[in-house]
């Protein structure tokens, strides 16, 4: 059953999402995301597609299945999905309740996803189920920090942002491990807050 509280939260955020997240963050993160997504190969699962801002840096000609919990977000993404020069399909789906068969994908990509998934370890375990054995998971995520005073600031900020958007204090690398993945590489892009993670 879809997590309707999370779905409603992101449906509400959809009309203004590009305005808030589009220009600044995407411009700042564009080279890092482009480098990460250039690794796409084979049957790719991408989550969460949101309004499709990341599609601009997808390498062309890929076979991508994308999911997002918010139908309103995907409505905004339609034009970007249609413009993608490759096979890109988007479905409304909760990561906790994915209907894909086991071992359906060669690779999984996430982009600022596990700051928002309500039960991150369960969500990551679901991803492990649909990823073929030996398949790669590449994540672009923001997390909490281990360093003071940033650690405290991220906790405080989470009180303000949780109701309308993401948590700022997630321990995503530890969650990836707790879900049964082997973490091969962590690349800190800004402090230990914005990072890419490669796991298998």
């Amino acid at each position: 059953m879809v997590d309707t509280a999370t779905q409603k939260k992101w449906d509400k955020a959809a009309p203004l999402f590009d305005l808030m997240a589009g220009a600044g963050a995407e411009k700042r993160w564009e080279p890092f995301k482009r480098a990460l997504f250039s690794k796409m190969d084979g049957r790719v699962l991408f989550l969460a597609l949101g309004t499709g801002l990341d599609i601009a840096v997808f390498p062309p000609g890929q076979n991508i299945t994308a999911i997002d919990i918010s139908p309103k977000m995907l409505e905004v993404a339609v034009a970007r999905i249609d413009a993608y020069p490759g096979d890109l399909r988007a479905e409304v789906m909760d990561v906790h309740e994915m209907t894909f068969e086991d071992d359906s994908f060669d690779q999984i990509f996430t982009s600022c996803t596990f700051c928002s998934v309500p039960n991150p370890i369960a969500g990551l375990q679901s991803l492990k189920r649909v990823l073929r054995p030996g398949g790669d998971m590449y994540m672009f995520e923001h997390t909490g920090s281990r360093y003071y005073p940033f650690k405290v600031m991220m906790h405080l900020m989470t009180y303000a942002t949780r109701k309308i958007g993401p948590d700022m204090n997630r321990t995503t690398v530890a969650n990836v491990r707790a879900a049964g993945f082997d973490v091969l590489e962590v690349n800190n892009l800004f402090l230990d807050v914005v990072k890419t993670i490669h796991a298998r």
């Binding site: 808030m20 600044g24 700042r28 005073p149 700022m168 491990r177 590489e185 962590v186 800004f190 402090l191």
Partner: protein
């Protein structure tokens, strides 16, 4: 730090302006009748709170975490320093804004220095090795 000029200048400008704003605000709120420690703590919290809200607006132009973290630090430091200073001795609005701007500059440069030490790739030979 991000080496693209747009972000370097944007980060510097955002933090010095937010620092100046919080500094001026601290001078308006705090007088010499305040206890220095109370002024420092109250303005530190208030500065961080206001800066956190401002970072959401600035973020639309300059990014998300890369804006929020230094700007909140700027708010905290600027509020703390100017709040404490204004409790000890009378301070003009211009001086308070200037001190706040310097706090903002120092904060963002501090974040750049820490960032240069923390950022980069960590490879895990043993996949269970702990990491944040």
């Amino acid at each position: 730090m991000d080496h693209r000029l747009y972000f370097v200048l944007g980060d510097l400008l955002a933090n010095t302006l937010v620092g100046a704003l919080i500094g001026a605000l601290a001078e308006l709120i705090v007088s010499t009748s305040w206890n220095m420690n109370v002024a420092m703590l109250v303005l530190m919290a208030l500065g961080m709170l206001i800066a956190g809200i401002l970072s959401l607006l600035i973020g639309a132009l300059l990014g998300a975490m890369e804006v929020m973290v230094p700007v909140m630090l700027t708010g905290m430091v600027s509020g703390m320093v100017v709040g404490m200073w204004a409790a000890m001795a009378p301070l003009s609005g211009t001086s308070a804004a200037l001190i706040g701007a310097v706090c903002g500059f120092v904060s963002v440069v501090g974040v750049w220095i820490v960032n240069n030490a923390v950022r980069g790739v960590t490879l895990f030979e043993s996949p269970s090795e702990p990491h944040g």
